[in-house]
Symmetry: D4
Subunit: 254 residues, 8 copies
Amino acid sequence: MDESLAAILQAVAAGQISPDLAQVKLQGYSQIGDFAKIDRTRQARTGFPEVIFGQGKTVTQIVKIMQHMRDEHPVVMATRIVPEVQAELCLHIPDLQYYPAARISALQPLEVPITAPGTIAILTAGTADLPVAEEAACTAQLCGFQVEKLWDVGVAGIQRLLNNRMVIDRADVLIVVAGMEGALPSVVAGLADCPVIAVPTSVGYGAHFQGLAPLLTMINSCAAGVGVVNIDNGFGAAILAGQILRTAVRLQKI
Amino acid sequence: MDESLAAILQAVAAGQISPDLAQVKLQGYSQIGDFAKIDRTRQARTGFPEVIFGQGKTVTQIVKIMQHMRDEHPVVMATRIVPEVQAELCLHIPDLQYYPAARISALQPLEVPITAPGTIAILTAGTADLPVAEEAACTAQLCGFQVEKLWDVGVAGIQRLLNNRMVIDRADVLIVVAGMEGALPSVVAGLADCPVIAVPTSVGYGAHFQGLAPLLTMINSCAAGVGVVNIDNGFGAAILAGQILRTAVRLQKI
Amino acid sequence: MDESLAAILQAVAAGQISPDLAQVKLQGYSQIGDFAKIDRTRQARTGFPEVIFGQGKTVTQIVKIMQHMRDEHPVVMATRIVPEVQAELCLHIPDLQYYPAARISALQPLEVPITAPGTIAILTAGTADLPVAEEAACTAQLCGFQVEKLWDVGVAGIQRLLNNRMVIDRADVLIVVAGMEGALPSVVAGLADCPVIAVPTSVGYGAHFQGLAPLLTMINSCAAGVGVVNIDNGFGAAILAGQILRTAVRLQKI
Amino acid sequence: MDESLAAILQAVAAGQISPDLAQVKLQGYSQIGDFAKIDRTRQARTGFPEVIFGQGKTVTQIVKIMQHMRDEHPVVMATRIVPEVQAELCLHIPDLQYYPAARISALQPLEVPITAPGTIAILTAGTADLPVAEEAACTAQLCGFQVEKLWDVGVAGIQRLLNNRMVIDRADVLIVVAGMEGALPSVVAGLADCPVIAVPTSVGYGAHFQGLAPLLTMINSCAAGVGVVNIDNGFGAAILAGQILRTAVRLQKI
Amino acid sequence: MDESLAAILQAVAAGQISPDLAQVKLQGYSQIGDFAKIDRTRQARTGFPEVIFGQGKTVTQIVKIMQHMRDEHPVVMATRIVPEVQAELCLHIPDLQYYPAARISALQPLEVPITAPGTIAILTAGTADLPVAEEAACTAQLCGFQVEKLWDVGVAGIQRLLNNRMVIDRADVLIVVAGMEGALPSVVAGLADCPVIAVPTSVGYGAHFQGLAPLLTMINSCAAGVGVVNIDNGFGAAILAGQILRTAVRLQKI
Amino acid sequence: MDESLAAILQAVAAGQISPDLAQVKLQGYSQIGDFAKIDRTRQARTGFPEVIFGQGKTVTQIVKIMQHMRDEHPVVMATRIVPEVQAELCLHIPDLQYYPAARISALQPLEVPITAPGTIAILTAGTADLPVAEEAACTAQLCGFQVEKLWDVGVAGIQRLLNNRMVIDRADVLIVVAGMEGALPSVVAGLADCPVIAVPTSVGYGAHFQGLAPLLTMINSCAAGVGVVNIDNGFGAAILAGQILRTAVRLQKI
Amino acid sequence: MDESLAAILQAVAAGQISPDLAQVKLQGYSQIGDFAKIDRTRQARTGFPEVIFGQGKTVTQIVKIMQHMRDEHPVVMATRIVPEVQAELCLHIPDLQYYPAARISALQPLEVPITAPGTIAILTAGTADLPVAEEAACTAQLCGFQVEKLWDVGVAGIQRLLNNRMVIDRADVLIVVAGMEGALPSVVAGLADCPVIAVPTSVGYGAHFQGLAPLLTMINSCAAGVGVVNIDNGFGAAILAGQILRTAVRLQKI
Amino acid sequence: MDESLAAILQAVAAGQISPDLAQVKLQGYSQIGDFAKIDRTRQARTGFPEVIFGQGKTVTQIVKIMQHMRDEHPVVMATRIVPEVQAELCLHIPDLQYYPAARISALQPLEVPITAPGTIAILTAGTADLPVAEEAACTAQLCGFQVEKLWDVGVAGIQRLLNNRMVIDRADVLIVVAGMEGALPSVVAGLADCPVIAVPTSVGYGAHFQGLAPLLTMINSCAAGVGVVNIDNGFGAAILAGQILRTAVRLQKI
């Protein structure tokens, strides 16, 4: 649909769209109640929807935002949704699907087709890092990317990683999730020939300080080519990985 | 050149290469004195040379590593080289070029041709962030990437950024360098449709804690699609940007 | 009423006030039980009542202080009152009003008239910052100031802020509330021509450290003219904003 | 001068101003070399010039910015200028004045007239806090504000403060500068009926952590109405104080 | 009783005490189960009993230690006892008294007589600091010291402190308890002519970091003569105050 | 059993083991579901089994790993198992033993024989440190080492330690567990003539920061010969102690 | 001399003292230049002079304060005076004595007589802690207290302390100075029957963080009766020790 | 020589040793000047001499301690000796040898014979970690241990480590030295079957915080059997390694 200024104004003049909708289109966001402003340009710009960060929002707020977004987006998703919240959301939006391992709720067609080239490989150091890795995997898949998973290949048993080196070799972008001391991204980046996104997790105890230790490890990595996201931020890692693959698409078109 | 195991062993048998060189090729690194082991697989794997991190190494060590590498790599470079060290290095390697704004020394052909598609745009929040940004720019250019620079567009005068939005629009990957409170990457990532690499700098004072403040800002960015590197790590940002563009190339070939 | 030393002593002599009340007036505070001393000079001095900080006080203590203060102040308010505490307080003070979004309890006339010139504009970066912003708004309104609210205009979608620039333009003092990386006050201060009060919130996760990240961001703001208050301290921001508007009133009288 | 879009375009058409200057006027900033972009809207908007933060800039950069700004601003100033830098600056700008106690360089008329109503009172806890306090005082005076100074009234000898209470009483805005434990702003805010700006300093040792201790003290102040700026940021405190007095002026005009 | 080596050995020889008890007397501590060793020399040495730190111990452990100690000490006390634990303790030790404000349980004669000269004055900055202050007061009283209390005299209303200056003047040692920014000990030490013990509390929020802020404030106090104990350590403050008064007694005897 | 490459391949050829088992033997780990990879080389290499770190794993995951491991290891154990988890585990593995003081679950023969020379002495500073010390003791005993325990010998009553000096003298390796200020390892290392492993615990309050304080104490120990493990990591201390004793065994064989 | 209000006013009336001096006497402090206000009440109140903290003050400021104070105080002293500053001070005040080990300058009679009862024992853990300990010793001696020194008795060789236990036994107040892990005060407090003042020092490296490690150790001491002062604050420890002994004197008079 | 109490007293009686020397022998340490007490029991107990920690000691102090120790110890050594200090030391002790890479000075026979069984292997992650590793190597060799070195095998080029796995396999105790993110010890411990001592170094920049990052990494290692020493503490690592090998010797004798 033509969303240029001229086209929008002509559509208003022709009575095809209301002045309110025209305002939303021109200002680039929708107002929901008085509590939220949804970016309408993001999907056009980045290919990703405005995803709802569920933590700290009330059920009512999440419901209203989802109901607003579902008309315009093929996929509507919310992260950091615990089962209790999902149960309440379902009372208002019965067709809302839930991915418990990833703590993600989504409105979507039955199966999201893979629309982008390339593979995002996601690795974890330990079994306890799975929730964060699943948040990344689920986000990437809902956005139409192909994902390969490799769990529990932490550096203390390095042969577990080396025996699965083909996963690293065939990836186009790597998401490496690690708690405890967070050393895995450095080793992986030394073996890989593609970008590495490092995700520290809050899995650990003692001088781990809820993820500060692996965050510092990853920021100080002696291997170049590593970009770090926030502790437990599987979602952000997936979006960054998606951006990287989309850049490839864009360059191909040139 | 064919570097398969069979080919190397045949070359040894034929007396074409020495057993010593064969060992280097097979073990993947070269031993320099007893103090360094240079990764020989990295360039083949990533397209980047093993770059010398100059800080904490003696002049003698840097010279020996450079002399060893110059036979095998088209570009040999060292980062974190202050002018006093460069002066000493030149006594041993007279044709060593110096990029003072970036504090980089390099052995290279007169002009490094651009060999990769895409553009790396590098932005700074302030004038004092230039040394870090120049380290990124110089690294990227020595590795054959095209660079566009935009300095001093910090968020306190947001129109400076908005008036240069075309730089963001035409970039394929963005490196955003900021000290003080480090807010620029969040704003840029909200405007961009490509990956953003955030580089906090040690520019600031007081509760800045030598870059901890902008590092935390960038790690906590409310904009998705941002990968963070270490404080003042312009080099690492350039390598990650290069990896991203190389991934695009690889996907094109498929 | 004349509260000079001479007048008070004459009133005691005339039997118009008791020696006890005279003591309170002269020493400047009232003793409540043995656990609290209420500043009687503050309202005369600043125009604000001594507000009860509810956190860490028992219900009995809050009730006794409120009962003591209600005779002398037109508005009596307590902050950080969770619904469970409000329910208990109402058993003792049935006419106590509650503002749940702001977690504030107050004794007051039906509507507090606006008694000061100027407008306090309150902005939030995200929806989850609302409780802190509402604490600021409710405090300001109970103290007789005019408030304008603008929610969810964080920097990752900068057009949301730019499209509401008129709110910034017509404000006389700005309170900017932000969690996550806390970048909003810097951008706002670059656009505003009035004082900016920055309030970091504990909204975030990971390397956010319960608000330390946005606090550092705001303290390091590259925009001048920003004063920072404690994490989640919406109340303190409102009092400071009120002080600023009252200064204007005082200067007008000169 | 009329700076509306129409007027500027007519002036270009009439050959009165160059297209280049018109561009600067319309985009709101001036480009200096490739390293700086000077905000032209700030003075119009806030009444303060774009002040040069000297730390981290080269002498050449400072000189070029000053030479660019001197045509358009009545006052041009740079902060954090140590005597050695001032000596070099004078070689290029002979009429540059220096305020050594404040480490400020300025181009200005002989005496800056007081153009704003109200008084900024500046207090220090100790003698060693003077450089920060003088930076605040000098900035405020160069911007045309009236300043009253009160040094060495720290809380360990509370009668020094109480005996000078008239300074607090006649102030319209207070800047309180303190190192060590930084307790002075809390006591002052309890006595004052105007806004208090708290400036922690790096004066101290041991568990002071270069100003972190007084910064935390001031952020946690039990007295409401205190806004905090960065450690040693006398300049920022003065700008905020100026903004507060200018707000009063603006409200008077209404 | 004569506890010299010779006397103890003679008592064993005479069958007056068992070899086991002799061992305890000579080694200086009693073994309780395998989990605790109670110092028997402390009371003789310091005049204070070995007090049980209740936090982190099981009910069974506390009961066994109390039962062991009650034969030998006039006062047996445990700190950090929450009401739920007290209820369980009473099932085993029915005559155990409880001081809920101080969270202290004690076995003792009906009223502990004052056995030491001098007065310990205990001050708090706010009402919420009372539990820590009461722990100090109750400890001191159970050890036979005279205590004077002054609550809610924080520095934001300095006249509350100044009007009670006589409490400071007549104290022989001061315990000053403060949360929030913890500025009270500095002001008190500037007014007092006796030792000041500063106790930071965990009362606060935001950048308070559970008491780190007031701890740093007190450690950095610009007033000399202040000794600091751990956050919320009312018990330790009382013991130190008691040691100070006991030193006076000892010196008097010389 | 002969586990050489040749032997394994012959066994496959002879149909004695399946190709799947051969793969596990050759790659060095077993795959359990998709969530865990169990190191099979560790026991052969170190004499210790791959122990399950229970924290952060689901009951289902722990059960599957235990069931997989029980065929191949004489001892299968999991740490950080709270009683509620143990109750659930027993539903699936009825013969699972539980050591509540150590929070360890284990599958094992009735009594684990002592198979290694030497004694591991374990000391605690206080009674509240017992859970960590018991985790160390139980781990060591399940691995076949001899353990001697000495509880509650903290430095504030130094005679308790000195009177038990024979425990230090007869130890071959010492594990010293301490919370609060964590000073005990320094004193013990000054008395011992064997390696000392220091374990900080989270026992404390206030400026203890969940074990950071004793961790720093132990890392900064003025006594040489001290190795530190993570806060509350009794398990890791036991494994390190076991490694030290096993080194002795290995050297004896030479 | 009679310093009551009546006496001072009569002295002014009689022309015996100037109005200026009367003002100083009544307001309790002297104004020196515009940069310092010297507390005149402190000596009367505490028996100690207002000591000059030399760090951060210019030579001119120190000289002016000393010249002002020397008429009224028997002892005038300044701490944190490095030899270069002392050399400059001597140009203006030739009879200024210097104690290099303590970095203290003083104006005083030839020998300061011991005027207070009791002994302050000062212990250090290591040889490198001497400068801080000497600052404490020199301060105490200049204030007229008796001092006993015991150096290099750190806990890693506990017999060094135990063999000198008589120093602890005969002390009336103990100052314990320790860097590295700072464990000494806990051990000493367990042996002593008098107050212990703990002084952490910046002696150490690595995870010592310039004294943070021993500061935390001392604040978390498991021994009660320990008051802590700032890192390297030997002066403050001496003043607190002096206050403790003076309290004894005061109680004796009652 | 027989050092029992009886033997010493008989020797005094026989005039064979002086009462002074007898006192030293019985109290276990020698007094040097008033500033140091040298532990005489350590060598007998641990086999290592009391090594002088040079940092923070004056040249005079080091010389006196060395002169005192040289009569009684075969090896006398001091660590943290920079070349300037060594030059001064040589003026007083001409035969003092210097190991510049390790910054160690020593008095010793020409070659220290290897007196203990086993091999200490020392690994570094990078070239810049050499000074710390050499301190460990030199200390171990001066104490009579056999050392094998392997430099520059950091995890970013994992094949450098894997190709040298035989060094790990033949070691009896491993010292692993790493700066930057400090991941090497985890990988090594996963490959080794002997104890691993991890040494973080201050080599790094930005969020490295002078070694805090690798220290946290090592403390949080997911590999069991790792003991950590202070940042840059090569000396301490060597002593701990030596203790481990000596334990083996002791167990062999049993």
